[in-house]
């Protein structure tokens, strides 16, 4: 069986950043396993710009952002296997994978980084009534057809869900000559970035219909139309508000789900809110030597944060392999009053650095205070003009604060009236 210091599962932005960081930290025996035919992950089909503003201070397209890392990887002797699917990660870090050139691969790893990304929530999970016609697809699938395969997935489009991929696809389809008739959003607010609402919808006069959903699809072979309706406070369609919109394509942008089948089958604990593994401040899961980062850990809106998070995981994995990662008791983290989750879920008391707590809120908040507490003791408090579920936030925690906290203590991030 092949042995390897570090196996990175996934060669998207998360996997690449983790691998490069570990390499930089002195781990040279690294293998990246990527299921697609190239490195880069989902960025390869995200040809719009807006990537890298934080990390590179430049406005790059997805493939350009990815290429910066691909070029770096090629400069190292990190081993790469593309078109390779990982089938299993055993409890003792044996990674089983297969492809059509090596056959079945088994690698015993000292440490593993999980960086499998996420997938889109499909139609079935929404239970939209109606037909089985073609022309109903996730926005990401449509994006692949347009941007990589070079085919039009439709000409008259309704988009359900105002997540960023849906908004981006509204603009892409319009520029390529399609008519986007509406973007419907179940919630009373959009899940996408404001910038995308302005530049992808308003620029092209595409209506954004809030508190609105698709209740039925019509058509025998190819989709012929959808019925949309407004929803009430409980998100139930309001009778009498139905409207028929003729279209040949329904694109779904209704949420992303971290792809954790491997983690689950491997017996790694998942957080029921993030659907990603429970991790410590170095993104180490409850299984020692297994780290997780990027969209498999929590769904991000900015790739720049994925890079940052993955470098933390890569550094952690390197420390672990070198035997330098310290373990003490754990402090746990918790979100309250509209803070849906915190990553990392726990912090090693023996840690050696400041920690940023990443989180998302459950609804739109304006003019509130973001308070971090341990018991009754307030660690920090900051005024926030606006927080939305579409944008990931973070609060920093200083190393000395962590050191001063009691073992088994709980850090709570909460929202209070300003």
């Amino acid at each position: 069986m092949r042995e390897c210091d570090l196996v990175v599962i996934g060669g998207g932005p998360a996997g690449m950043a983790a691998a490069l960081k570990a390499y930089e930290e002195g781990i040279k025996d690294i293998l990246i396993l990527e299921r697609a035919e190239t490195l880069g992950g989902i960025l390869e089909q995200c040809i719009h710009t807006g990537f890298g503003l934080h990390y590179f201070g430049e406005e790059l397209s997805g493939p350009e952002y990815a290429d910066r890392f691909i070029e770096e990887i090629y400069k190292t002797d990190i081993d790469i296997r593309v078109d390779t699917m990982v089938l299993n990660v055993s409890a003792d870090n044996v990674v089983t994978a297969c492809n059509n050139f090596d056959g079945l691969l088994q690698i015993k790893a000292k440490a593993v980084v999980l960086a499998m990304g996420c997938r889109e929530r499909p139609r079935g999970a929404l239970s939209i009534a109606g037909c089985r016609a073609s022309g109903i697809m996730t926005a990401g699938t449509a994006q692949k057809y347009v941007n990589l395969d070079g085919y039009m997935p439709g000409h008259e489009v309704v988009i359900l869900g105002s997540g960023d991929i849906g908004l981006i696809m509204a603009r892409r389809m319009t520029l390529e000559g399609a008519k986007v008739k509406a973007v419907c959003e179940l919630m009373p607010y959009s899940g996408g970035l404001t910038r995308n609402i302005v530049q992808c919808l308003e620029d092209f006069g595409i209506p954004l219909r809030l508190s609105c959903t698709v209740v039925k699809t019509h058509g025998k072979d190819r989709l012929e139309g959808v019925t949309v309706a407004n929803v009430d406070k409980n998100l139930k369609p309001i009778l009498g508000t139905e409207e028929y919109i003729p279209c040949d394509t329904l694109m779904l942008s209704v949420g992303l789900i971290p792809e954790n089948e491997l983690s689950k089958n491997s017996g790694i604990d998942l957080d029921p809110v993030t659907n990603g593994p429970v991790v410590d401040e170095y993104r180490e899961t409850v299984r020692k030597g297994v780290f997780a980062c990027g969209n498999v850990l929590q769904v991000h809106d900015l790739v720049d944060y994925v890079t940052e998070e993955s470098q933390i995981a890569g550094e952690g994995a390197a420390k672990f392999i070198k035997g330098e990662k310290e373990y003490g008791g754990y402090i746990s983290t918790k979100g309250e009053n509209g803070v849906r989750y915190i990553v990392p879920q726990r912090i090693n008391k023996a840690t050696d650095k400041d920690v940023k707590l990443y989180f998302r809120v459950g609804k739109v908040f304006r003019n509130v205070k973001l308070v971090v507490k341990c018991g009754d003791e307030i660690i920090s408090s900051k005024k926030k003009n606006k927080m939305t579920p579409g944008e990931m936030e973070y609060v920093p925690i200083k190393l000395e604060t962590i050191k001063a906290l009691p073992e088994n203590g709980v850090i709570t991030v909460t929202i209070e009236e300003a």
Binding site: D83, M85, G103, S127, G135, M137, G140, Y151, R222
Partner: protein
């Protein structure tokens, strides 16, 4: 060429009849209006092999159900079609319903169903720990099972084609003229001549019969809606869990599928919006869930991966109609094959063969097979089996569908099999690619690519299920 027999409709009945007839020295054409087999009633039903206690004693339904259910394990074994003898329970929620249970029991005994047992609530709970506490008793039927209806149809067609049956897809029969001694079928795939016709056109059997002047029956399309739950909910039921039947059908059931998913449904509504309406409705779907929760309260939609509807071909007579048409000496109707039609199908095939034998000499071919080799199933293989397989053909090392672990090799096999897949749904039914939790989000476009490559066409010529069900249009540039 003039066929001895044209079978109209490649559902489970048509396909099994074709398989049966393919053993004899006659020429047979299997005509299907869709782009694939199993596209009508067969595609979307409960996939249950019923014990045989539902049908009224003495009816053709009762006779063929019990016989078909007994034949099912054998033919599934011969063709490597997934079948599981999981047994079933019919739940009673009141003493009143226990009376129904008693009636079903008596009927089952009269129909020749073996092993039936009336059990109390505690025993039912032992068999199915997740059923409602309100269950007072049940009818336990150990002989019933589950099967994959479209795989059964696909396999039967493959066997038939291997033995020389001609499978003609996209072949909708529009007219039939009797030339005295043989028919000319005017179809969307051109004129086809045949001496005998076996009309197994599902919900359209009445229309096909009318083409020869037989208007002795009318098929009512009855729609049923279903939800399919993710495999992680597979623990909810091991047996097929029925409710007491009412006048519209067998009530809502909760059953495992042969693939380990949970299926709940169906509703039963007479269809008014066209015979092929397989649209799901908000009302229908919520009814399914509510009624399923009556049996198993833990059922919920968080686990739903898809919903679908199917149609059943109902006759006012409430029985199967399988006989020579009174209008013609060379035309057999196979009509009204609603539940337990799937269970009865193997027996229906034999029954039709015997009918045909009355008029057409059937002599066995020197060489034929009734078996189908098991398709490669990478996901079920051991490490060493996988190693050997990839060594033999590297295409089995390339995973296309992540959720179900389906390889490129399996997809290529499905396309090049006899009567193989021509569209994305055809690949899905043969391999499970796209059937998992992401529902083809990732692999859909790869499957389109492989289909296009293997069939030698452009990607935008590939459809979801034939006809105008295009997936993509013109090139962007």
């Amino acid at each position: 060429m003039r066929y001895d027999v044209a079978i109209v409709g490649a559902g489970v009945c048509g396909a099994l009849i074709a398989r049966e007839l393919s053993a004899y020295n006659i020429s047979v054409a299997l005509l299907e209006r869709a782009n694939d087999v199993a596209m009508g009633t067969t595609k979307a039903n409960s996939a249950i092999v019923h014990g045989g206690f539902d049908a009224v004693t003495g009816t053709l339904k009762a006779k063929l159900n019990v016989k078909g259910t007994a034949l099912m394990p054998k033919i599934c074994g011969e063709m490597n079609v997934p079948y599981r003898n999981n047994g079933s329970v019919v739940l009673a929620f009141s003493e009143n319903e226990m009376e129904t249970i008693k009636t079903l029991y008596d009927r089952g005994i009269a129909n020749g169903v073996e092993g039936l047992e009336i059990i109390d609530g505690a025993r039912a709970k032992e068999l199915e720990p997740h059923i409602s506490d309100d269950v007072v008793g049940a009818l336990f039927c150990p002989s019933s099972g589950i099967v994959c209806p479209y795989e059964l149809t696909i396999a039967a067609t493959e066997v038939a084609v291997t033995n020389g049956v001609e499978f003609i897809r996209n072949c909708e029969v529009k007219s039939i003229s009797d030339n005295g001694g043989f028919y000319t079928l005017g179809t969307t795939a051109g004129d086809i001549e045949a001496t005998y016709i076996i009309n197994a056109a599902g919900t359209h059997t009445d229309e096909v019969a009318r083409m020869i002047g037989d208007s002795s029956f009318e098929v009512i399309s009855r729609k049923g809606e279903y939800y399919l739950l993710d495999k992680s909910y597979g623990y909810l039921a091991d047996h097929t869990v029925f409710q007491c039947p009412n006048y519209m059908g067998k009530g809502v059931l909760v059953t495992p599928s042969v693939d380990g998913n949970i299926l709940i449904g169906p509703t039963a509504l007479d269809v008014s919006d066209g015979k092929d309406s397989i649209e799901t409705t908000p009302e229908g779907l919520s009814t399914v869930v509510e009624r399923a929760q009556k049996s198993i309260p833990e059922v919920n939609l968080r686990g739903a991966i898809t919903s679908f509807a199917g149609v059943r071909a109902h006759l006012a007579s409430e029985d199967f109609l399988i006989d020579w048409s009174a209008q013609s000496e060379r035309f057999i109707n196979v009509a009204g094959i609603e539940s337990p039609g799937l269970s009865a199908a193997p027996a229906i095939a034999l029954y039709v063969k015997d009918l045909l034998k009355e008029k057409l000499e059937l002599s066995e071919k020197a060489n034929y097979t009734m078996t189908r080799k098991a398709p490669v199933r990478f996901r079920h293989m051991t490490k060493s089996e996988r190693e050997a397989l990839i060594k033999k053909n590297p295409a089995y090392g390339r995973i296309i569908c992540r959720c179900e672990t389906i390889t490129e090799g399996e997809i290529i096999d499905a396309i090049h099999a006899p009567a193989g897949a021509r569209d994305v749904d055809g690949v899905k039914r043969r391999t499970r690619a796209g059937m998992g939790r992401c529902q083809g989000g990732f692999c859909g476009s790869k499957v389109v690519e492989i289909l296009a490559r293997e069939l030698g066409v452009e990607m935008n010529e590939i459809t979801k299920f034939g006809g105008e069900s295009k997936i993509i249009y013109e090139r962007t540039k």
